[in-house]
Structure formats: structure tokens, C-alpha cells
Symmetry: C2
DNA sequence: CGCCGCGTTGAGCCACGTCAACATAGGTGG
DNA sequence: CCACCTATGTTGACGTGGCTCAACGCGGCG
């Protein structure tokens, strides 16, 4: 984990877009910065408490992170990339706040929160399978692919242990639902298995 | 459970505020209506799927429910009162959308979503205890009180079974953390136990 | 080369789910 | 008023899914 927050992006020098690699911190709670829209990838949000930081939300393509900076100037949560991410500034300085856009963001946040809650219900295998579904994206050839996050992150999201997640992933591979997942994290092609179609 | 959605509240006849009793449906997914701010009480949100409806979020005092109606005119979720509620219309027709207010709502929704996620982590007793804390409110005399939701709702929120929640509630009572909770749901006074102070 | 972080897998155990019986409150109709 | 029914909550007995603990494999890096 390499923190990029040591060189915070201020609103005055807004870049076009930002690339973050899997495993990297995007920002820490309490630091200054701007809001971002996730163009691609997956982001894990954490709430920081005196006893440590706890998983507190998920952001995927289209979601906005750090919106609270438009109010307070500082991030309330901590964000880390759990897949290679591309971010773009959201509502860059000078742009007037569009009520429509804000409402879209609010509605999206509520849907995503429901997704995150659902990932903590049901049997272990089902949870991991649904998480993979959520993380999958379509390629140009119509097949799907996933960048598998670290087990630690998948475990936090599903509220399972790393061992249990590992067993579920092994089973997904044995069943042919996931292909090509070696000993290291990386790109995986979900099969065309109809069971994966839901 | 008595649905009030059969007489939907249109934006043209906006009431000052609305009182809903514990157990009643506030609105169903797909129906027309307006957005509400929860002045007091607790609301359970559900996502409706072909296989039934699943718990999808919690709204407490200050939170906004049904904001998506400002975009689509219809509710995406289903809402039910799990405590006696007082609701007031949010951004009634004619009021211009305030970016500030929307951002406050967005930030609040994200915090609440994090709370809801946290209620599905940790040991059963801890989860139920934290849920009670979240539902407690201060009275004029400085003591706290809770309207205990139905076990079914507490079970859905914490992702436990009703039996397990019942055992946890019994233990809270035996420990003196909750007082006066008979065989029926109702008002309960949390004790001044320091363990309850967190 | 040796260390370290991450992932995998097995063995055993326990917190919680399942199932069931019962208690209590409220409603409804006689 | 009681008799009865239903919905909800309580509690016990028992089974099990997932946690714990541990050993090991593998890759990256100094």
C-alpha cells in the first residue's frame, strides 16, 4: 500500500483524470481534496475510528467519492483502490452545482449502499459470487473480466474471513465460473456459465 | 401493516407533516410520491425483487427518503416505519433545489449507509446493542428511550435470526442496559449503564 | 538467498441457525 | 364477559457453516 495522499490534489490544480493502481490509497480521512467520479475500477471506502478503520462502502464505475469535500473541504472517509482505477474530478471548481446531477449522484449512492448491504447477507459462496458479479465488466469482445481484489478486501466487504473467501474463489474456479486465477491476484475471465448470468 | 400508499400524496397537495405508526408501510416501490425528511422515528428501506423484498437501508432522524422521486416521480424502494415516525415533505414543489442542502443530504446518506453496514459486522450481541444505540433518543429529562422495532425488522437489519435477536435483547435486559421491555414491543428506557455510553 | 506478504488448504470447534414448543397480547365474534 | 384465533416474542435442544489456528506454497524484493 503506497499512499498518494502525501501529494494531495488541490482544487486549484485539477488534473483531467487520475489513475490509481490496485492496492493504493486514494486519500485518507481528514485530508484536503476534491470529489471524484470513478470512471473505471473499484474503490473501497473506510470509516476511521480510534480503534482502526472499518469498511464503510463501495464505489464502482459512475459513483462519486469524496462529495463531502464540497461542504467541508476535507474527506470524511478513507478510500483505496481495490481494482485499477481511473478517476476524474467531479464538479470541478467554477462549475455550478447542478441539482439534477446531485440528485443522480444521491440516487446512485443509495442503490450502491443497498448493493453493499446485500453483499453481507446470504451464504458465503453466494456473497463472494455476487461480489465478483458486481466487479465484472464487459470487454470489447463481449466476454467479461474481473480484476480480483486482495482477499483481505473481499473479506471485509462480505464480512467473511480471508480463508472462507479463498475457499469460495477456489470453488468458483473449480466450477468453471472463473477462469485463469493463479496464485496471485490479477485479471480473470468469468466463463459464459449461465449461472453467472445472474 | 396498513398501506397508506393507496392515497398517494401528490406534490400539489403537500401536507405540513405526516405521522406514521410503527409497523405501517410508508410507500411501496413504483408508486408516485414525493421525498420526505424523517423528523423523528426510524424507517426501514427495502429493495423489491421478483423473489421478495430485501432490507436495503435505514433512515433515522434527519435523513431523507424517496429523493429519487425528484428525478423519476416514483419511489425505487419500499419504506416502512419501524418506530413511530414523523415525516415532513422535503424540497416541496416550488422550492428551488439548493445545492448545499442536496450535498448535506448526500453526505448524510453516506454516513448512514456506513452505519447500516457496521450493523452487519461483529458478534450478534454487539450488533443488537449497537442497533439499539442508534435507535435511542434523548428525552427532556436527559435519559434515553427506545421504541423497540419488531424482531423481524431488527433481524433483517443485523442479518441475524429473530431467535438470536430475542436472546440478545433478553441479555440486554438481564444486564440492566435496557429496562422495562415486556412481552410486546414498546418503549424502553436504556439504563445509565456506562457500557451503553458507547 | 532469505525474508515477507499473500494465498491455499486442512482439522477442529463454536456461535449462530434451525426447529420446535410454549407464552402472551390483541382482535373478533358469540 | 369469555372462547378462540393469530401474530409476535421467548426459550431450549441440536446441527452446522464459517471462524480459528496452523502449516505450507509461491512470488517479489532487498
Amino acid at each position: 500500500m503506497q499512499a498518494i495522499s502525501t501529494t494531495p490534489v488541490s482544487a486549484s490544480s485539477t488534473p483531467r483524470s487520475l489513475r490509481i493502481s490496485i492496492g493504493e490509497r486514494i486519500y485518507v480521512a481528514g485530508s484536503e481534496g476534491i470529489a471524484w467520479r470513478v470512471k473505471s475500477g473499484a474503490v473501497r471506502l473506510d470509516r476511521v475510528t480510534p480503534e482502526g478503520s472499518d469498511y464503510a462502502g463501495l464505489a464502482l464505475r459512475g459513483d462519486v467519492i469524496g462529495a463531502e469535500t464540497l461542504l467541508y473541504g476535507r474527506y470524511s472517509f478513507e478510500a483505496s483502490a481495490i481494482g485499477d482505477c481511473e478517476l476524474e474530478p467531479w464538479l470541478s471548481a467554477g462549475t455550478t452545482l447542478s441539482g439534477e446531477s446531485l440528485l443522480q449522484t444521491l440516487a446512485g449512492a443509495e442503490r450502491r449502499a443497498a448493493d453493499a448491504l446485500a453483499l453481507r447477507a446470504g451464504e458465503a459462496f453466494e456473497r463472494v459470487r455476487r461480489l465478483c458479479l458486481l466487479l465484472a465488466r464487459y470487454r470489447d469482445d463481449g466476454r467479461r473480466e474481473i480484476t480480483i481484489p486482495e482477499l483481505r478486501d473481499m473479506a471485509a466487504i462480505t464480512n467473511l474471513t480471508e480463508a472462507t473467501v479463498s475457499r469460495a474463489m477456489s470453488r468458483l474456479r473449480r466450477m468453471g465460473i472463473l477462469q485463469r486465477h493463479g496464485h496471485r491476484r490479477g485479471l480473470v475471465l468469468p466463463g459464459a456459465d449461465p449461472a453467472f448470468a445472474i
